[in-house]
């Protein structure tokens, strides 16, 4: 399959589209930066003894009063902005990717099953989807956080803040995958090759995985990229609403929430550096998603 991909028209198209190339480059750069943050970032913003309040509120290097140690300035605690956004991107991308993966598996599984078996299973899954949609992501995050706080031992709870946010975001995203998978199953199910497989007595799971799934990879990939962007933004919003990650290990979203306090105060960089970074990242991912959508839509070529 990989061989097919490399030689496909897709790659050719990609090389022809400057927007797609740029988007991919940016995404790779940011992802690499995030991944290798512990090695390339000047400081570790999560290490409480590595920064000092006295270095707080310093502007970026091109402004007066800046400090060469902090290229993009510091926040109110004295943390280096550059390191913060690299580590923040790491967290945001990590959360988004895992959330999306969970949502994908969950949604795909439920959607395929619902579409294939129909009937009562379908009804149950769709109603669960309704329940899921009815619970806003913020509430899901809040409630999962609450449960974990109430049920688990205190020490574990803090470590699980990450898991809580990830789970909350995943739960708000899986429905899209499920719906798409289900709809695609409806379309594919009636096709000849599936009927043939059924007649041959193949196991339903095998049919789903082997025959139906490859045909819906396209739309799923598109949703995945859109949802990746959504997940990152959702995490930022959850932080804004107060159920995000704690400020000592901030994601991009939390950095923006903290930065919002400095909108008017003159320390513009605390807000705008993470925001621009986030926007660039999300735009790049969206552009990639666009490209993928065009790629997988044969009728557009």
């Amino acid at each position: 399959m990989l061989r097919r991909l490399v030689r496909s028209e897709g790659v050719w198209l990609f090389s022809r589209s400057p927007a797609a190339i740029l988007a991919a480059l940016v995404t790779v750069a940011i992802v690499a930066g995030a991944l290798f943050a512990p090695w390339i970032a000047p400081t570790d913003p999560y290490d409480l003894s590595s920064f000092s309040l006295i270095d707080g509120l310093l502007p970026p290097i091109w402004e007066d009063g800046s400090d060469a140690r902090f290229l993009l300035g510091t926040d109110d605690q004295g943390r280096d902005m550059l390191s913060s956004i690299l580590y923040g991107a790491r967290l945001s991308l990590g959360i988004a990717a895992i959330a999306m993966a969970v949502a994908l598996v969950l949604g795909l599984g439920l959607g395929l099953a619902a579409g294939y078996f129909g009937g009562r299973l379908d009804a149950i899954v769709m109603r669960i989807a309704d329940v899921q949609l009815a619970l806003p992501a913020i509430l899901t995050a809040l409630l999962i956080d609450g449960i974990s706080r109430g049920i688990l031992p205190r020490e574990l709870h803090d470590d699980l803040r990450l898991a809580v946010i990830t789970l909350a975001i995943a739960l708000s995203l899986w429905v899209n995958f499920a719906r798409t998978a289900r709809a695609s199953v409806f379309v594919e199910r009636n096709k000849d090759y599936v009927s043939a497989a059924i007649m041959m007595g193949q196991h339903p799971v095998r049919i789903m995985l082997r025959h139906i799934l490859p045909n819906i990879v396209g739309p799923l990939l598109v949703i995945a990229t859109v949802d990746l962007a959504s997940a990152i933004l959702l995490e930022a919003t959850l932080s804004f609403l107060g159920v995000g990650l704690p400020a000592d290990s901030p994601s991009l979203g939390t950095l923006i929430r903290i930065g919002m306090q400095y909108l008017l105060s003159g320390e513009w960089w605390i807000l705008w550096i993470p925001t621009v970074f986030l926007v660039v990242l999300v735009v790049a991912i969206n552009l990639l998603g666009d490209f993928l959508r065009d790629l997988f839509n044969p009728s557009l070529r």
């Binding site: 409480l48 000092s52 309040l53 109110d76 706080r149 107060g242 919002m260 003159g266």
Partner: protein, 524 residues
């Protein structure tokens, strides 16, 4: 074309009247982050409600701009012999907003209402045995024990009209469903409630028959809650509101530098402090030290106090608006100890030495509990504290959470150290001693989450409460302050600032209890 000729006399009269008309109507729009939950003065004992209702209702006494106790519905009061209580002489010819006359019956009724089960202001009358109407204009409050500060302590006790309450089924504060007093008022105060839309907007207009002289020039006052600080700031800058409290510290400079706006910065009576788990045998949130509690050693607590650079916290996080604190109450309040007005000096080396002496040369880790939406920049302060402690090897795991779950966690002992802000309701040193330092019992030490216990302080509390001689009282308070400092029961950090922002043509009086009195608002 017929024109009615106005009689000349009428014309003259109307001309005179036009000249005599007061200055043009001033609508005052103001905003805050929290809408008062109720218009019932006995339902909730908290600042948003009491501050707002102090414009509509009044009590026997009130506080002036300098927090001094002034006559209000009582013209004078005197202590009864042998500390039996206090006698209040009531003001005559005062009417409620609905025209009913004010007299002693209303006082007695309001007292009974204030101590009824659903009331939240019962604690003010904990020491009152009985309230007796002597005559239509005199009321006695009989106390179980001598209470020299009693009159000042009921400055927020507000008086309703007994008949109105009875006629509207509002004889006690509402419990689960609202009653007439939740959204309607009938007080004697300078303003009348004209409209109440909970959570959205509340309208007041001046009381034309108020007994005192109005210093304000307002014709209407409209309060709207604005939860988002940035939105509130925008509303002020666009001119849609005249006054907002508070604004974020980091925006003060910007607002002040703009034409047409000004910021009033002062100090609140709230001291922000760190508390320890004095009754915890072991640390609960340590990564490695799980079999003991280093904070039980006074040297460790002392090290914490000396490792924190409050001046830098004040400069960077509080933008210089706060005031370092040495005790559990701010300077200037009654009972403040001048002898002990110095904070422990910031000295990380000395702190480290103390730690080593106590047996923790390599430090240890612990859990620091902190609210993130209760006090100004509370989370930032906690993180700064954590950062400073990390420098002496003491690693804090900061757990910042919304205040709605915070008190529960503290009550459940889920902390090793915690941040707390305390504002003494009586503006006197006895208040924090009673709530924060007395050994926890049913009624005392109820906010002493760490369980700090000093038998000496415990035995001094009642004498302090009952001592009539100010000098003797102060001496006792000095001793208590000394004990608290030597024991490092708490680490007081700073006094919280008050930041009020408004249009330039507005003059207000900022009281350290953060109460906003409309009657002192001047619009130029």
């Amino acid at each position: 074309m017929f024109r009615t000729k106005l009689p000349t006399a009428a014309l003259a009269v109307s001309a005179t009247m036009l000249c005599a008309l007061p200055a043009k109507a001033e609508t005052f729009r103001w905003a805050g982050t929290t809408d008062p939950q109720t218009m019932d003065p006995h339902a909730v004992n908290a600042t948003p409600e009491l501050s707002f209702l102090n414009n509509v209702y009044e009590g026997l006494v009130r506080r002036g701009p300098d927090m001094g106790v002034q006559p209000s519905l009582a013209t004078s009061w005197e202590a009864l012999p042998d500390g039996a209580g206090w006698r209040f002489s009531l003001r005559e010819n005062v009417t409620f907003h609905d025209g009913a006359a004010f007299n002693a019956d209303d006082v007695v009724f309001s007292y009974e209402r204030a101590i009824s089960e659903p009331s939240d202001v019962k604690s003010w009358f904990a020491n009152v045995a009985e309230v007796v109407k002597v005559d239509d204009n005199t009321v006695d409050f009989l106390t179980s024990a001598p209470d020299p500060l009693f009159p000042g302590s009921i400055a927020n006790f507000m008086i309703l009209d007994a008949e109105w309450a009875a006629a509207n089924d509002a004889e006690v504060p509402a419990r689960d469903a609202e009653n007439h007093a939740t959204r309607n008022t009938n007080g004697t105060g300078p303003f009348v409630l004209t409209s109440r839309d909970p959570g959205i907007r509340t309208d007041l207009s001046p009381n034309e028959t108020w007994w005192d002289t109005a210093e304000h020039k307002l014709s209407e006052a409209i309060f709207t809650p604005i939860g988002n600080p940035a939105t509130g700031l925008a509303a002020l800058l666009s001119g849609e509101i005249d006054f907002i409290s508070p604004i974020p510290l980091q925006d003060v400079e910007q607002v002040e530098s703009r034409e047409g706006f000004k910021v009033l910065t002062g100090l609140e009576t709230r001291v922000i402090m760190l508390g320890f788990g004095h009754d915890h045998d072991v640390l609960r949130y340590s990564d490695e030290t799980t079999d003991e509690n280093p904070f039980l050693d006074v040297r460790v607590r002392q090290a914490v106090a000396q490792a924190i650079d409050v001046d830098t916290i004040n400069r960077v996080i509080m933008r210089g608006a706060a005031e370092p604190a040495s005790q559990l109450l701010p300077e200037g309040l009654s009972g403040f100890s001048d002898e002990h007005a110095m904070r422990p000096e910031f000295d990380p080396e000395a702190a480290q030495a103390l730690l080593a002496e106590a047996g923790y040369p390599d430090g240890f880790s612990f859990g620091l509990m902190c609210p993130n939406d209760r006090y100004i920049n509370d989370e930032a302060v906690c993180r700064a504290v954590a950062s400073m402690l990390a420098r002496i090897g003491v690693e804090a795991n900061v757990n910042a959470m919304p205040v709605r779950g915070y008190w529960d966690e503290l009550r459940a002992d889920n902390f090793d150290m915690y941040l707390l802000g305390w504002s003494p309701g009586t503006f006197d040193a006895e208040h924090p001693i009673r709530f924060l330092t007395h050994t926890p019992t049913e009624r005392l030490g109820t906010w002493n989450f760490g369980g700090y216990s000093s038998p000496r302080i415990d035995e001094m509390l009642a004498p302090i409460q009952q001592e009539l001689d100010p000098e003797a009282r102060q001496a006792m308070l000095e001793e208590v302050a000394g004990i608290l400092q030597n024991d490092v029961a708490y680490v007081p950090l700073y006094t919280e600032p008050l930041i009020w922002a408004m249009q330039e043509n507005i003059d207000v009086v900022q009281r350290p209890d953060n109460f906003f009195m409309l009657r002192w608002v001047d619009v130029n």
